[in-house]
Symmetry: C2
Subunit: 98 residues, 2 copies
């Protein structure tokens, strides 16, 4: 979970996620959208992959990246909790402060 948030903290990586939301793309296609070297994009893709926010699959010469909606949903679950939109509301019943 920490890795997910770390991955999301970079604007380039968030832009990559938005690109992948439209459709699956290869590393090369993704790199075209940025004014940055391909190795740098590869590094960002790896960060997203470590965080399980994207899935990669080799297709012959290319490597296809796609969004992993499951994990995105998990991260969103954290936010929902933060807003009290969850079962979470009965957790501070017996709670007293230190």
């Amino acid at each position: 979970m920490n890795e997910s948030f770390k991955a999301l903290s970079d604007p380039t990586r968030r832009q990559i996620l938005r690109l992948l939301r439209e459709k699956d793309r290869t590393a090369g296609e993704i790199a075209e959208y940025f004014d940055m070297s391909k190795p740098s994009i590869s590094h960002h893709l790896n960060a997203l992959k470590q965080a399980k926010l994207v899935i990669d699959e080799r297709q012959g010469q290319h490597i296809m990246y796609s969004l992993n909606s499951t994990v995105v949903q998990e991260v969103m679950g954290w936010f929902l909790e933060l807003l009290g939109t969850d079962e979470d509301d009965n957790r501070d019943k017996g709670r007293d402060n230190p």
Copy 2:
């Protein structure tokens, strides 16, 4: 928005948000929950404040911190967009899977 994600990328800061979700707390109260110097906590609180994720208000000698749900919701909006749970769905007519 970038600042919000940066702020969320640190586990200490996310923990602080969870503490504030329960109730408003002073900087000192928050610091008690962590094995970390008060200046460090102050630094984290400032990051959250810059990101507008929390609001601070002086109450006499203390400074009270509280969660800014509005901005948390904005960030969540970003996620919803990413999952296509939004009005966003008429933007990519030619998509192939549901």
